[in-house]
């Protein structure tokens, strides 16, 4: 008897669910082991994690708020990934969006909300989108690999943000802390009906619907799907490849930039280095877990936001380092990637031929 790998005739029904469940169980087990390794109670730790993320109303609101930037970035990343454009640059585009919005808020401190907020949205989307044009230009004109160019631009954008808050935009009375002045009330995205849930959520819903409709019903969506599915065939069919690259980069940049705006305006109310929390990287995990589908991205974003909030709780109560969240993100993504194998193949026992 020996094991052999057999290709399935049809993909495993309900496969994605089993794979996700299996990947979760696996990742949680390893994480628990890591907790135990540092002398923490493994089960207790996982409970603190769960409770901190979804266990109470307050925690749930935190999780929802954190899923806002992750969702917007994830949406953008997914659009690019659909075309097999490996845009890792959501993090940098997020930073540039935050910078763009901050510029508008700081330049017009007296303007009413009806003027300054739309201006901030425009600046954030433009800054993020324009920043994403750099790798698009490098890729289409000079065939520079977008994975590396977007990654390098992340470092550059974050350093640029640092430069601004340490230098020209630093508030005089900040006692040396790198931060801008607080935004005027008009430049702050407020809560919905006085709750902590802010209007950024509505932006998410709108963006989600737009992207969904774009992907599902428009010619652009079809061309993206076809180009991502087979590059040679799309060239044969005369898909406007370069224009599509520019488009997906613009969309991703605008979405990530908007996420930067919302995080800066609604959550922090000013620009400071701590707005850069790695949402752009989490977005990649989210997009892939959700199979690049705009609806499931919402679920995945909520889930990974919960993981982040839970880890904060873990940090507070059990002094577990924040990097614990990264480990779990990496593990979940890796195990889902490996698990997808079982959707196309199965392991069979067979007698030796002969």
């Amino acid at each position: 008897m020996r094991l052999s790998i057999v290709k399935r005739q049809e993909p495993l029904p309900g496969g994605s669910f089993f794979i996700l469940a299996g990947a979760l169980v696996f990742s949680l087990s390893i994480s628990a082991l890591l907790l135990a390794l540092q002398g923490k109670s493994a089960l207790g730790g996982l409970y603190v994690l769960w409770h901190g993320a979804f266990g109470a109303g307050y925690a749930l609101v935190d999780t929802i708020l954190k899923s806002v930037p992750i969702y917007l970035c994830g949406l953008g990343v997914a659009v690019a990934f659909r075309m097999q454009i490996w845009n890792i640059g959501a993090e940098g585009q997020f930073a540039m969006g935050a910078v763009g919005a901050t510029w508008a808020a700081l330049t017009f401190p007296e303007a009413p909300a009806a003027l300054v907020l739309p201006l901030m949205f425009a600046c954030a989307a433009l800054a993020g989108g324009a920043f994403a044009f750099i790798p698009a230009w490098l890729k289409t004109r000079l065939k520079v690999n977008e994975i590396i160019s977007t990654l390098m631009l992340n470092y550059i954008a974050i350093l640029f943000l640092d430069y601004l808050v340490y230098g020209p935009w630093k508030e005089k009375r900040s006692f040396g802390f790198p931060m801008t002045a607080q935004f005027s009330d008009a430049a702050v995205i407020g809560g919905i009906g006085g709750s902590r849930l802010h209007w950024g959520l509505v932006v998410c819903v709108l963006a989600g619907i737009l992207v969904f409709v774009m992907l599902r019903f428009t010619r652009l969506g079809f061309e993206l799907k076809a180009s991502g599915s087979a590059a040679r065939a799309s060239r044969y069919a005369r898909m406007p490849y370069d224009a599509l690259v520019w488009t997906v980069m613009a969309i991703c940049g605008a979405l990530a930039g908007t996420a930067g705006l919302i995080e800066t305006s609604a959550t922090v109310n000013r620009l400071q280095p701590s707005v850069m929390a790695g949402y752009g990287y989490t977005a990649i995990v989210v997009a892939w877990l959700a199979r690049l589908n705009p609806l499931t991205i919402a679920l995945a974003a909520f889930f990974l936001a919960g993981l982040r909030v839970g880890v904060e709780n873990l940090q507070l109560e059990l002094q577990v380092p924040a990097a614990f969240g990264n480990i779990m993100e990496g593990l979940i993504l890796l195990s889902v990637l490996a698990g997808q194998f079982f959707q196309t193949y199965r392991i069979a026992l067979r007698r030796r031929a002969g």
């Binding site: 019903f217 428009t218 010619r219 079809f222 799907k225 599915s229 044969y236 031929a353 002969g354």
Partner: protein, 500 residues
Amino acid sequence: MDRVADITVVRLEGISKSFGAVKANDAIDLDIRAGHILALLGENGAGKSTLMSILAGRFRPDAGRILVDGRETVLSSTKDAIRAGIGMVYQHFMLVPTMTVAQNVLLGQEGGFWLNRGRMEARVAELAEFFGLAIDPAATVSELSMGERQRVEILRLLARDSRVLIFDEPTAVLTPPEIVHLFAALKSMANRGKAIVFISHKLEEVLSLSDDIAILSRGRVVDRVETRVVCSKAELASRMVGREVFLEVEKEPLPPGEVVLEMSGVTGFGLKEVSLTLRQGEVLAVVGVAGNGQKALVETVTGFRRPATGKVNILGREWTEFFRNPDWKHALAYIPEDRLGLATCPNLDMVDNVLLTTRQGFTRGPFMEHGRARQVTADMVRDFDIQPARIATPAGKLSGGNLQKLVLAREFYRAPRLIVAEQPSQGLDVKATEEVWRQLLAARACAGILLVSGDLSEALQLADRIAVMFRGRFMDVFPVSDTAKVEAIGLAMAGVGAGH
């Protein structure tokens, strides 16, 4: 028979192999004998390649046994097969193009840790000379002709002292003189005691080369004969399919219409001074051995390669102007050789694949009319009898014939006036070939067809005029009724006797 050795090297007993519901091999028995050339004859899809892949250790059989030198042997990897002395020359050469001849020959061979380039090349040169396969061991494979690459493949097997050499359609990529050369080499190898298995569907080649013939059909060996008792091609053909078929389609010449394609003096990217005129209602077949500039010709006409020098006019418009924003309808359709990788996306369903080149016709504002596209696809499935008839089937799940029908249906939906068809019946069975040919002939009513084919009988069946291509040049262009020139096509394909 007075051969060096007449012993059975490899015996297959009851070999069966299925892929899903398809029985590719069904209880096959076969003896492969030293010093003999065994021809394996059969239509595409008869199971020849599967059987040989089993011998080469690429697939494992579901049932049956393989005896090597009388001992039962399990060939569970290529390595096992190589150890058992079985080697295969694949249709698509298994060479590393960036490496030299000597490196390719010795790749995977056991030996010391270090490589000595000089000694390696000397050894390959010696081997090449012994078997009369002239080649420069230091040359890089990517710079070799197809014939030379095949020699590298053969040398690789000989370097490992393979006793059974399997050739999968080895003549498909060769010029007639190279074929003569190959056959001489095969005979000399047989005389030195090697067992040769020659897979082919070309009757005349099988007759002129082999000692024994095994005919495969639908996964079974249906007949086994000694070549010397076979009198004629016709007899062999009737043994092969149980009835005599020489595929013929009726063709009535159409009055030539306006000029749809005109090329003059196009040179560059492997083309030399190519000029042609193609009119509506006409089929111009470009024949020649693969790799003589057909690719560059097709890419130029279909807009994927800008002509370096010379003029190209399509539907009365200059190349650059035509391709700046080509109309999706009433213009150009391209039926490529690579149906799965180029003409369709394997993962997308039939509807999306139809939309691939017709999407401009299903657009309203920014939106796509998916409902109408589904309707049109369903019509195509019905009109062209595409199986399975479910329009949600991904293109990758269609058989070669059905996929080609889908591509034809889609491209004809665009009502093209210029059609470029590349090897349109390659890999299709008789029935599907006949349908494809019929469809192409019918399309002449509105279009001029540029047919690029490696299959002479296809060209003769469909074409009004024939252009023979050699090293990027048209050796000759003549009407198919010119029998003297048709007779000499083989020579012209090899660059002999330019007819002008």
